[in-house]
């Protein structure tokens, strides 16, 4: 770099302080709640930060090591006594379904959109942008009554011979979709689809069109070229789009809180059950332990996929 572009010492100091300040602000709330979850309520809710950090009362009553008190009682209460693993299973079903369906439908559309310059493709993307802006509550308002009454309005599909043979093996009568994690998958995929096709389209645009043209000259069909030639070089983009689908499904509160019941709740809406009970102090810390449990996988995710997440954030920007 040119010597004249180098920063003067004063400015360097200001920037250094600013960056350190941001790092503290960014990391502090999450780290601090993580520390609180390992302390007994008397320490965790203390006004003295040293009590929270070192946990003297936790050390006295429960134990620990190196002069620092640690307790796992809140995690035990959450996962074993309150059966939080059931919510984890529901979350796993929903996120897995959303990611796989979003990606299979989205890659096809994203590829098609990246390789076409037609007016139709343009307006499809504009429509997707409008859908992307739609508040989720607007859609869910349509789904709530439909899910509650589905046993009634889906029954014709079971009674009619042409479709009945297809549905009967799954259930004898039309099901009530309310409270079914599998049904919620469809809603979240739909909400996610506009974003997914925008992102995948911009990834496909980075792959030169000469590649599929060459494949088609060699005798591949359009789908063959897509599947055998383009997809193998497309995995980084697919992983990135998958990460964002995962985040949408995993972090959702609004849709899952309205369409699932307490039996089938995913983890994020389930956390309110710890808050709404007239909270004793230990229940407050249980809520914190549940929150830390939900955040831990996300932490691992950023560690493993930082590069892909950054690529995803900048991708839409560069091309969009």
């Amino acid at each position: 770099m040119n010597a004249a572009l180098r920063l003067p010492a004063g400015l360097r100091l200001v920037i250094g302080v600013f960056v350190i300040g941001w790092v503290v602000v960014a990391a502090f709330p999450l780290l601090w709640t993580a520390v609180m979850s390992f302390r007994v309520p008397a320490d965790a809710l203390s006004g003295n930060p040293l009590d929270v950090l070192l946990g003297p009362r936790t050390l006295e009553t429960v134990g620990g090591g190196l002069g620092i008190g640690v307790t796992f009682e809140h995690y035990w209460a959450v996962w074993v006594t309150q059966h939080f693993y059931r919510n984890l299973l529901n979350s796993a079903v929903v996120t897995f379904g959303v990611v796989t369906i979003s990606l299979s439908v989205g890659t096809l559309a994203g590829y098609g959109l990246a390789r076409t310059r037609s007016v139709l493709a343009f307006w499809l993307l504009v429509a997707a942008l409008v859908f992307r802006a739609l508040p989720h509550s607007v859609l869910v308002t349509g789904y709530v009554p439909a899910f509650l009454n589905s046993a009634h309005w889906l029954q014709p599909l079971w009674d009619w011979g042409a479709t009945g043979w297809l549905f009967h093996p799954f259930a004898a009568r039309a099901p009530t979709l309310y409270g079914q994690p599998l049904a919620v998958i469809v809603v979240l995929v739909a909400i996610n689809q506009p974003f997914t096709i925008w992102m995948l389209r911009s990834f496909f645009e980075n792959i030169p069109a000469e590649l599929d043209e060459a494949a088609q000259v060699d005798g591949c069909t359009a789908f063959g070229a897509f599947w055998r030639v383009i997809m193998p070089v497309m995995w980084p983009g697919v992983i990135t789009a998958g990460l964002f689908s995962f985040l949408l499904a995993y972090n959702d509160y609004l849709v899952t809180a309205l369409l699932l019941d307490s039996q089938s709740m995913t983890m994020v809406p389930a956390i309110t059950q710890f808050l709404n009970r007239d909270s004793r102090a230990s229940e407050q810390i249980e809520a914190i332990a549940a929150a830390v449990s939900i955040t831990a996988p996300l932490f691992v995710l950023v560690m493993a996929f930082q590069k892909q997440i950054v690529a995803g954030l900048t991708q839409g920007a560069v091309k969009g």
């Binding site: 037609s118 509550s137 308002t141 439909a146 509160y253 994020v268 808050l275 950054v310």
Partner: protein
């Protein structure tokens, strides 16, 4: 790619968006003009009580829910016109409030819809410049750091962005809980005891600060990536022309970032208008609600287990009108560009 192949590739996605987005929208629109209620019938009931020398009988008319053959109440859907919209918008209350001698602004804000609209718009418009400003500052600052530090800095910065929004809000709330560390810090700094969750405006400030904390990393990463492609030649040329550090930033770097600033602003407008998770995380519904929360609340069963689906549909439609107003300038631009290209 010809039109036919294009059609096959996009068909699953298009069908999915039609069936699961467009169709529900039409359904909500229709639903907002219809109410489903139990049908009541009026029956004559003769009740007799034993009395002296015979019974005393009286006949009265009672209304009771009509039952079908299976013993279930009969429900009937009827067209109610704009009644649901009137219930949500309460035009009479607004006119009364705005008339001379009415309650004015405060009385309008007593209606849930206007309260939610006011908060949602404030939230959107205040966080927008804050997110872009903070994101830009972090990007410029990190860009001066040694290369080995940048990876870890991006990692730490991504945490607020990636954390579940409800939980991020909760984690900030917990810092104030009871005698929490930030409550103690505030008392130490100001000398007085401030309860951040006792009045509306402090909660609102926390919600705004939370959202900036949550989204600034996104702006940061986008701007940071673009800073890597600023032309070094242009910077050196500006230097030779005698441009100061600030002038180089103002006339070389910012114009380079401009399309990305527009991009981040667009995404943030869409997302901030949807503000919802903060209301849940901070439990602010007594003081501050957003438009999405209004609909959410109407859809949640009340004490008797009833969901106000019709009113929720009306409020959802009004929320959507807001998005369209927000997007019209952008769509108009896309339309002009497309016509110019054709």
């Amino acid at each position: 790619m010809n039109g036919r192949t294009f059609g096959w590739f996009v068909a699953p996605s298009v069908v999915m968006m039609l069936v699961f987005i467009a169709f529900p929208l039409v359904f909500v629109f229709v639903q907002s003009f219809h109410a489903t209620q139990s049908v009541f019938e009026t029956v004559k009931v003769e009740s007799c009580t034993p009395g002296f020398l015979g019974q005393v009988c009286k006949t009265e008319e009672r209304s009771r829910p009509k039952l079908d053959a299976a013993g279930q109440p009969v429900r009937e859907t009827s067209f109610i016109g704009l009644a649901a919209y009137r219930t949500v918008l309460q035009p009479d209350a607004v006119w009364a409030a705005l008339a001379p001698g009415g309650g004015g602004w405060d009385a309008v804000m007593a209606v849930d819809f206007y309260r939610a609209l006011r908060f949602t718009l404030t939230f959107t418009l205040v966080t927008l410049p804050a997110v872009i400003g903070l994101g830009l500052l972090i990007a410029l600052a990190v860009n001066t750091m040694a290369r080995s530090l940048r990876g870890p800095l991006i990692f730490v910065s991504l945490m607020p962005f990636i954390v579940t929004p409800v939980i991020g809000a909760l984690s900030i709330r917990w810092l104030f809980m009871g005698d929490g560390i930030l409550t103690a810090a505030l008392r130490w700094m100001t000398g007085s005891h401030i309860s951040m969750f006792a009045q509306g405006w402090t909660i609102e400030v926390l919600m705004l600060v939370y959202r900036v904390w949550h989204v600034a990393p996104f702006a940061f990463v986008v701007f940071y990536a673009a800073l890597q492609t600023v032309s070094q030649d242009a910077l050196e040329a500006a230097l030779i022309d005698g441009a100061s550090r600030f002038e180089r930033l103002r006339y070389v770097v910012i114009p380079h970032l401009k399309p990305l600033i527009v991009f981040v602003a667009l995404i943030h407008l869409m997302d901030a208008y949807r503000v919802f998770d903060e209301v849940v995380g901070f439990s602010s519904e007594a003081h501050r609600i957003s438009l999405q929360f209004l609909t959410f609340n109407l859809l949640t069963p009340d004490q008797a287990g009833n969901r106000a689906v019709t009113r929720a549909s009306a409020s959802a439609m009004l929320t959507m009108v807001g998005v369209i107003v927000l997007l019209v300038p952008i769509l108009a631009r896309a339309w002009r560009e497309q016509r110019g290209r054709a």
